[in-house]
Amino acid sequence: NKVLRVALNAPETGFDPAKVSDLYSSTVTENIFDPLVTYDYLARPAKLIPNTVSALPSISADGKVYTFRLKPGIFFAADPAFKGKKRELTAADYAYSIKRHLDPGIHSPWSFLVDGRFVGGNELVKAAGKGALNYDAPLEGIKVLDKYTLQLTLTETNFNFLPILAMPAFGAVAREVIKAHRDNTNAHPVGTGPYLLKEWKPGSRIVLEANPGFRKLVFNATPGSDPLDKAVVQALQGKTLPQVGRIEISVIEEEQPLWLSFLNRQLDISGIPQVALQSALVIDPKNPLKVRLAESYARQGIQLQRQLLPEITFHFFNMQDPVVGGDSKDKIALRRAIAMSFPVSEAIASIRRGQAVPMNYIVPPGVAGHNPAFRGAPKYDPAAANALLDRFGYRVGADGYRTRPDGKPLAIELACGTSSTDKQWNEYWQKTFDTLKIRLGFRQGKWNELSKANHQGKLQMWGMAWGADYPDGENFMQLLYGRNAGDSNAADFKNADYDRLFEASLKLPHGPQRNQLYDAMNKIAVAQQPWIFGDIRMRSTLAHSYVKGLKLHPLLNTSWRYLDLQK
């Protein structure tokens, strides 16, 4: 029996797909539950393929009706709730699983992806009030045509609907199981996926075992030109998946034990912690992203794989704030001056060790809609920034700090976390504001506290990261959409032009036409400067030589089911 040992960097919370939203939990649920569609392991850019359906759904001409045909003969893993019987996966299970995200009694963190999306959904939710959803009431938008056929009807065309359904959150659960473990669904994930949960010690250890009843799945792919693909195919071709019988996942939050455990072969796959980057990688100063594995590791046959994360980091201004917010030129100048003085490149060099690129466009590389040529970040030029502030009447007072144009003192508060990395960033922020001669205060707090304060409009500046839920620009562009103010639009940015463009973009599929709209929106964001663009990180993953079949995927969290160990 092959045992794969991996680690999570932070504690998970549970395994009910309708209840968890953190990356670490999803990593596990992805291997237990089967969504209707999934991604091809090897294809880049990521390509959707059928998972429990026999083919990709047929979509009506207006793009609103999706019809899925399930493969028969897929069974749930055994559970006492099934009373010893084999339980087959049916269309009703998917209907139930999707409806759970609508259920106001469950508070699914993903409800924003389905709210108002299905015909009749809103009414059903309203009828439930604050109680539980009536799952048995007929719903036009989510219809079970027969045992194996599911029909989803959308209120509006949506080009991202299939990628959403590929998320682990939309894997199928069995209603009996949920009912049987009503109080503790997080600990009893029962799905049709390749693995089942064997053991769970919250926050410390998770053990998965291959699902013995998993449908027969044989790896079959034709490799492209990529040598990596070839290696994967060579290792896996014709083998039944999964090959690894047991996966032991430990939660290791500290970098040192994680790294040493990997080097000591107590872990089979691991990322490279910040602190080990320089010793593990040989970085080319001409092109910091061009790296190779350090000689000593390469000699051991350790494999290195890299991937730019579909993620952006940025700092936003509270656009409703009387000091930093607002559309007037002096306010824009203030924001611009700060943006011009923040040494992103220096921070990348020092904190990220060069393993990131400056962010220049709201949509990151690897996500549909990205424009690699666009330079959205202003040139780093603190001297000019100072002169700019002078021009707009932010005069340096007797105490050496600038005042507002109306003579009132100028002080800006930056919200931040409390980790040591936060501290490193803060040092750059302090430097930024020092060169601008603006008083800076830090408001440190736990994430949820800051989030709440921001919700109440009490923050002035804060940094955030946003990772792709699905590989489409819309997922990012909506971050500045006026209607999302106070929700995902943390900056409370309200710009009529932007909103108009965004709404127009929704009606378009990915393509040059939409890209033009995105460019225009990016220009607005750059001109108005609600954000200061941060960086986009590069992830490096290492695996020992005996791990076969590994290829990082931009959207799948894990490749465990495709791995083979040849010790």
Partner: protein, 360 residues
């Protein structure tokens, strides 16, 4: 009344324990050396605090992680990138992309509301430009991640840490001693009440208390001192309570009662010197613990801010540095702290001996 005899030739000095203690301390070579070291630290801290030395600790005077001069050869030399490398790579990527792209490449001047002002600002920016100064390749004690001088940080940090450690320890000790004395000495209802407070206080997780203190008094060094004092008085309290419980029944305390000494006098004049040795040890240990505790507070975000530096904050950087082989900052802090702590503890021991009449 007996008639007093004529006054003796030389009046006897009033030999209080403090005076004798001081005399003995001066005689004890180890103790006196320790005292000098502690004194030197205090002076340095004072100098750093008033800006006489190390006021420019925040300047980036060397390359990131520049090694100590003596070990320049043997230090690990990792490639340290700088902003120019990143910029160059970024420019290269952009120009490559612009060639085969139809999309926009950025904000043009007419789209930018600030374009005119920016252009003008660029003209006027000369006064703000400063020539980048050359960065050193090595420093006496090396440099940190941002190229700041570890020596300067160390000096500046000693001011903060001493202030935090000593003030915090004194405050904690004062609270713990007074409450513990009251509790142990009087017993009864007062004891019950104080024990109640103690139990309540110790049961609530420190993290919550920290958050609460931070919420009340904001963040900063004052808060750090308060937080540390208010979370670490409990040990002293418990200890003093036990000692007072033990001593209050002793004959010498009863004798003090008999001569009419009030409760306060019995507690603080009679019993306290007899349990003072514990306080001394407690003080030296608490100071050390608080200096170290400050590191954890820094770590949790309650410590000193980025405009200040402390030994704790420097130590908090150690884990990341050590794994990369940059040992100098940690070693410098540890040595510096060890010296102080050792001197401090030896001083406490010597003081303890000096104040014990049974030892000569």
């Amino acid at each position: 009344m007996p008639h007093s005899s004529p006054p003796p030739a030389a009046p006897h000095p009033h030999n209080s324990l403090t005076r004798i203690g001081w005399r003995r301390l001066r005689r004890d070579r180890v103790g006196f050396a320790a005292l000098c070291i502690v004194g030197a630290y205090l002076l340095l801290a004072l100098a750093a605090w008033s800006g006489l030395v190390a006021s420019h600790w925040q300047d980036e005077v060397a390359h990131p992680y520049a090694p100590p001069t003596l070990f320049a050869g043997s230090a690990p030399h990792h490639l340290e990138l700088d902003a120019a490398d990143i910029d160059a790579a970024d420019r290269r990527a952009a120009s490559a992309a612009a060639q085969d792209s139809s999309g926009a490449t950025g904000l043009s001047a007419d789209e930018d509301p600030l374009a005119a002002d920016l252009a003008a600002a660029e003209q006027q920016s000369a006064q703000y430009r400063s020539a980048g100064q050359a960065r050193a390749d090595s420093l006496p004690l090396g440099a940190d991640q941002r190229g700041r001088d570890v020596l300067q940080k160390l000096l500046q940090g000693s001011a903060t840490s001493l202030q935090v450690g000593i003030a915090g320890a004194l405050l904690a000790l004062a609270i713990g001693t007074v409450l513990g004395a009251l509790s142990g000495y009087f017993g009864g209802l007062l004891d019950d009440l104080l024990m109640w407070g103690y139990s309540v206080f110790t049961s609530v997780p420190d993290m919550l208390l920290l958050l609460a203190f931070a919420a009340v008094s904001g963040r900063g060094i004052g808060t750090v001192v308060l937080v540390m004092a208010f979370t670490s008085w409990t040990g002293t309290f418990r200890l003093m309570r036990a000692e007072f419980l033990k001593h209050k029944g002793r004959d010498y305390v009863r004798a003090a009662d008999a001569i009419g000494a009030g409760h306060g006098r019995r507690m603080f004049h009679h019993i306290l010197p007899n349990v003072g040795h514990l306080l001394l040890v407690q003080f030296s240990m608490l100071t050390v613990a608080l200096i170290k505790y400050e590191a954890i507070l820094s770590f949790l975000g309650f410590g000193v801010g980025v405009t200040q530096v402390s030994w704790g904050a420097m130590l908090a950087e150690a884990p990341a540095e050590l794994l990369q082989g940059y040992w100098w900052q940690m070693l410098a802090v540890t040595l510096c702290m060890s010296l102080l702590v050792t001197a401090f503890s030896l001083l406490a021991d010597s003081l303890r001996d000096a104040l014990d009449p049974k030892v000569k």
